[in-house]
Symmetry: C2
Subunit: 363 residues, 2 copies
């Protein structure tokens, strides 16, 4: 079976399988082609038989459900273009500030934008009948993750108000084709505007409950701790439990460390920008003088609220060392912090500092 | 009639009436007392006869309404604790970066947190029956503003999805008492999580429409322009139309420029933090070494999502010049930019740079 591992990705780890595209190719198209879409897995890639697959829906519902893939596909189908971004995207810049142990050193390639088709989660919740006491909806995957000697499916949860939004899907297709196994075949959650970890793959169980998921990846991992906290002294019941994404902009071309011949020093700068929670990317600023002055980039046409926006602008550079900086603004007038040094946290999550690319124009 | 002008506010302008409290008193209580609540007006304070007051509801509705104050009060009543913040809060720090003309030089006192009671806007919209084509809900006040030789009521609009949220009220009470005239008697909009300008006072008309309000204060003012744009060269049809608030933290005690006797250099640092769009303030960090290291502040108990959170932490300071910095993080893992210089815009809106207080401990 074609798992999707033989793609154009730069592999970060084979088992579990993790990888992302060359950053330079990420802003070429509004919809990220499947072979260029980053893969973030925490355990095995399960090979699931679509004929015997079942989705169980339980917890605080009036009618527990057990649905086959055929039954899921027979429900009203929705399509949405949505960006996903791993909470660890741009971790390598935090690692340059101070060491971070046991985590993937992602560049800025752990993000992508695709067209997802499936059934809105709220259709399923409505069919099951949610109790008034419901506060969270938890997903559990059919993969197998090992932590501290136990094996379990990757999981996470989202607040009920989010789960009832029309944008949250149980997706079976990505860019018009059935999901590949590495992307969650046959069914994955798509939670637009949230960290990628909440878009649980290979969903086998949906549980409506009063508390957030007690799964390791909700209750323990994917939290931001204050900068003075280290793994050794962390109180894991505390920390900022990640959900919605903050605003972020990334320059994909030119790439950091590049050398550009002087005769093509007229460069089309390109990149992507995204934000969370249904906010919109409103503006991207570019600076060639370390943030002293800014130039407004051109944005791709107004896109649906959960998609990313591509930006571009042509600059002429003189020979020598150059630095480009990007920052985005969203519809909450939120913009990005200046310096990754002020954002460092020992798990290396949610770096959305100004994105800086240094390159050389040959003389 | 008691308009509310004879309060504890430091008056910024008499006509229109604008003022805010001494910043040091703002974080003393979770609910800001009415005499300490900032007032931001753009025109006259109308004195409205409650017996003849009418609220007209029209536009894209099936049944236009005209409601007396008595009829509004007979509808189901809601109460919410919500912070309001003027888009110009902390403008004075931007003015220290570069001149800003014709705007109020607000310190950080143009924010407050109160208990509002009234009817949820969605009750009224449901009663009127909203057409499917509705995209925005516009409010127009019964005050009189003059711009470019014409007189009109202050106005603004919010997207339909926000207008249908249970948190948006047409309020008649503030902290348990009828609104004072300066705060919008008899009826004002309360749009939690949005800039204060959308919480239109003295609402006389509600119009359901396809486009945002064409009122000067929606279509022209209250936009953020890129730093290179000036009033003279602004294309007013562009700019980031403000709505949701970004995350912000403000130190209220000690105050900037204070001199503290050495024998009380053990200081309880206090302040407020807020954010927009239903996100929550999750953490406030304080630094006494210009941001090189941070200390997590204590937050007031988990508050309803639209309220502000007060923070505090005790520090011992040595004699000499001291600087305190505060920054907040919200549930979207958004934090504040470092430096007001990077946020300057010619209208002076939405400064949420790290808040810095410089003071002297006497030797």
């Amino acid at each position: 079976m074609h798992l999707g591992k033989d793609s154009a990705l730069i592999v970060r780890s084979r088992e579990p399988f993790n990888g992302g595209p060359p950053l330079s190719r990420l802003a070429e198209q509004f919809l990220t082609p499947v072979p260029l879409f980053f893969v973030r897995n925490h355990g095995s890639v399960p090979v699931i038989n679509p004929a015997t697959y079942r989705l169980r829906v339980g917890g605080l519902v009036k009618t527990p459900l057990e649905l086959s893939l055929e039954e899921i596909r027979a429900l009203p189908q929705s399509t949405i273009v949505a960006a996903l971004q791993c909470a660890g995207n741009r971790r390598s810049e935090l690692m340059a500030v101070a060491p971070i142990h046991g985590e993937i050193p992602w560049g800025a390639e752990a993000a992508g934008n695709a067209r997802w088709t499936g059934v809105a989660l709220r259709e399923i919740l409505t069919a099951a009948g949610v109790h008034a006491s419901a506060q969270h909806v938890a997903f559990t995957g059919q993969d197998e993750v090992e932590r501290d000697g136990t094996r379990f499916g990757f999981g996470g949860s989202i607040p009920i108000h989010k789960a009832l939004g029309s944008e949250v899907l149980l997706a079976t297709e990505m860019n018009g084709d059935p999901l590949l196994p590495v992307h969650g075949f046959p069914v994955r959650a798509i939670v637009p505007g949230y960290i990628g970890a909440r878009s649980v793959k290979w969903v086998g169980e949906i549980t409506v409950q009063e508390e957030h998921s007690s799964n390791h990846f909700q209750a323990h991992a994917y939290k931001i701790f204050p900068p003075e906290v280290r793994a050794e002294n962390a109180d894991w019941t505390r920390g900022l439990m990640l959900g919605e994404l903050p605003v972020n902009a990334v320059i994909c071309n030119p790439h950091d460390g590049a050398t550009v011949p002087a005769d093509i020093a007229d460069i089309m700068v390109r990149g992507y920008a995204l934000t969370g929670g249904g906010r919109r990317v409103e503006r991207v600023d570019l600076s060639v003088d370390r943030g002293a002055s800014w130039h407004t980039a051109d944005l791709s046409a107004e896109e649906p609220p959960w998609a990313w926006r591509l930006f571009s602008r042509r600059f002429s550079f003189s020979p020598g060392r150059q630095e480009l900086i990007a920052r985005a603004w969203d519809s909450a007038a939120s913009t990005q912090p200046e310096d990754a040094r002020t954002l460092w946290n020992f798990k290396g999550y949610m770096n959305n500092a100004w994105h800086r690319v240094r390159f050389e124009v040959a003389g």
